[in-house]
């Protein structure tokens, strides 16, 4: 019912907004999206920002109107960014959480989703050392509700919905919005590939993804974070499960209703959860960079992934902490968010050892 209400409200707002304005590019209409939470951000074409709203189970596409190409990329360096954002919001750092960051690939501005302790979401744009709020009132937007059958959600005695779920990551590749979602009831994930502009048809590919471990056990495996990459001339989804193994799926095999088994190419150690992944490039070599909850940032050469044609089919030696493709741990720990500024540089949000939460730009030397 909640989801339905959100959709109805969004629809009404849309209608109200469209009476005076024509349907815009990418099927966006001017109005005020009812965004209840911002868990995940990803940029699409021409400054279109996709917002993953777990609370209403909706993906919003909003036009940031920030689509002027920037060839003079300035590096970002903001120390104690949580304190600065908290001050702008009239509160203290412990009352806010930075949910995600995303770099606009056209303008190279950094966008940052913040949530206050009471759950109110706020979107910011970082221009140099300035942090400015991004208004989501009267903007061109469209939305897509992820749950097709919202009325079937179970209710408890107080009438509140018991459906527990979250959008774990979103991305954009080949004209499609890719969304990984976790269910809090069944141990499973759904992976949706949604054509953009959004249509009424909602021809989403929904997948059940399995985790084949060492040729012996097979389990469902929720995806926590992902990126896309070209490997041997073929497009792949490079994903990491909640239990850290790194897996590959050919993008063209991800079809509606299919049950897909990922090829596990590496296990990245224990007691850790992947946070963010990006694909970087230097010269002819490309790299997968992966931030982790309890590990440093990992760097994996795509060349090694290409060369590693096996799947982890043999039991892992007990003494080894990791298995599969080789990777390097960078001397950067406690990275809580990560995105790509350009081919060779990343924007990192890092909790430093002195407790300061800093947003900074990495140099080429990490590659």
């Amino acid at each position: 019912m909640y989801f339905l209400l959100a959709v109805v409200c969004a629809g009404l707002t849309l209608l109200a907004g469209t009476s005076r304005l024509t349907r815009g590019k990418y099927g966006l209409n001017v109005g005020t999206p009812e965004i209840k939470s911002i868990n995940s951000l990803a940029f699409g074409p021409e400054g279109i920002l996709f917002i993953g709203d777990s609370k209403s189970a909706v993906i919003f596409a909003v036009d940031t109107k920030d689509a002027v190409a920037n060839d003079q990329v300035t590096t970002v360096e903001i120390k104690n960014i949580d304190q600065k954002i908290a001050a702008l919001l009239g509160t203290t750092p412990e009352n806010i959480t930075i949910q995600d960051i995303a770099v606009n690939p056209v303008s190279k501005s950094v966008y940052c989703a913040v949530q206050s302790g009471d759950g109110t979401p706020v979107l910011f744009k970082i221009e140099g050392d300035k942090i400015v709020p991004v208004s989501t009132k009267n903007i061109p937007f469209s939305s897509l509700a992820l749950n097709n059958v919202p009325s079937e959600g179970a209710k408890d005695k107080r009438g509140t919905s018991m459906r527990v779920s979250a959008i774990s990551d979103i991305g954009f590749a080949d004209g499609k919005v890719l969304v990984s979602g976790l269910s809090g009831q069944e141990f499973s994930s759904t992976f949706r590939s949604i054509p953009f502009p959004f249509t009424d048809k909602q021809d989403q590919a929904m997948l059940e993804i399995y985790h084949a471990a060492h040729g012996k056990y097979e389990t469902l495996a929720p995806i926590r974070t992902f990126t896309t990459a070209d490997i041997n001339g073929k497009k792949y989804l490079v994903a990491s499960y909640t239990c850290t193994p790194l897996v590959l799926f050919p993008l063209d095999e991800l079809k509606a209703g299919s049950h897909v088994k990922g090829r596990t190419v590496a296990e990245m150690g224990s007691g850790n959860s992947p946070v963010d992944m990006v694909t970087m490039k230097k010269g002819s070599e490309s790299f997968l960079m992966m931030a982790n909850s309890a590990r440093p940032v990992f760097k994996v050469k795509y060349k090694s992934i290409e060369a590693y044609q096996g799947s982890l089919t043999t039991p892992v030696e007990e003494n080894f902490a990791t298995a599969g493709v080789d990777f390097v741990s960078l001397p950067v720990t406690n990275v809580v968010q990560l995105d790509k500024l350009d081919d060779t540089r990343m924007i990192l949000l890092q909790r430093r050892s002195n407790g300061s939460l800093d947003l900074w730009t990495s140099s080429e030397r990490f590659l």
């Binding site: 909640y2 989801f3 868990n39 609370k55 001050a87 702008l88 919001l89 009239g90 509160t91 203290t92 009352n95 806010i96 949910q99 206050s116 302790g117 009471d118 759950g119 109110t120 706020v122 709020p133 959600g153 179970a154 408890d156 509140t160 919905s161 018991m162 459906r163 527990v164 779920s165 979250a166 976790l182 269910s183 809090g184 009831q185 069944e186 141990f187 985790h211 471990a213 060492h214 040729g215 012996k216 056990y217 097979e218 389990t219 926590r224 909640t242 239990c243 850290t244 193994p245 296990e267 150690g269 224990s270 007691g271 959860s273 309890a294 039991p315 892992v316 007990e318 080894f320 902490a321």
Partner: protein
Amino acid sequence: MLIRSCELHGLIFFIVLLQSCDTKKSVNKTFVIRKDQKAVGISFPLKYTEGIPPDSVFAFAEVRLLSKNKSVAILGDYSIVNQTVLFTPLIPFTHGLSYEILVKGKQIDTFEIPKNHSSRAPALLGIFPSADTLPENLLKVYLHFSHPMREGQSARYVTLLKNNSDTIKGAFLDLQPELWNPDRTILTLWLDPGRIKRDLIPNKLLGAPLKKNGSYQIVISKDWTDASGNSLSRSFTKTFTTIIRDSLSPDPDLWKISLPEKRTSNALKIDFHEPLDHSLLQETLTVKNQKGETISGKWQILDEEKVCLFSPDQNWISANYILRIETKLEDLAGNNLNRPFDKDITKKENKKKLGDFAEISFQVKD
């Protein structure tokens, strides 16, 4: 200092009230506007900005946090209604903090958002599974709260203890975003699946978070606050012991169905002989008549999630009925009707796959 707080449900009502009953008094004071226990805005008299043209007020008025450190103007929207300036910050003002209103950089007034009263303290209503004997490969724990809680905090406030003393680090998966229902009153915690899945490195190195024949406690700290900033009324502890792993799918053929009598609305009783997932039980069972129509009625989960009762809204008639079960229904270890949590693919399976539903027929007799 002029402070008055007004318990209202939104700006519109606030303005209506101002106009109808309290216009003269209210324009002399700073009001805190509240909605759902949150301080969502303030209003202050336009005369605070005397000498400034109304269309320039927003350029000269500021609301800041009262702080020893240098504070900045808080982001938000200003508007002028009835000789009153309304300021709505991007996020509600924080309970326990004080703020100041400045015009042309000079302090004109201050206001405080007091801490919420403990009578409104949130409580933990239940922890599921509710049994005190659980399999060592327990996969999920559900926490049910009375109020919407602050998100992203479970790693800090939920602890798994062994023998009331040793904290088991990394027992729960640190998942961001966390898994909440839309109201933020139900949270799912997963025991680290990498440690439960057999043969993965975390499983090999650290073992499963729980071991059989152990005594464990899940402790929820009272320091956890709800979305309005109120701490839990008290800490909560669930104590349980562990038994051997459960690697078997629930099997409806083994369930016991106790039939009701016709011309009564007595409950149909289904005994699973094992606890099943509390949340999935709420939505995976349906009773249908011969025509395939769903019988409306109430479901109850009893006996530590081992039993379900279905009481129909209309009396039973002498006829055949079908209990339809969605096969995604899981036991406490994540084994569903179609597959165990981790399937040994080297072993051949004899069991036939059920599809999306399993069905049990029963007859209410004369």
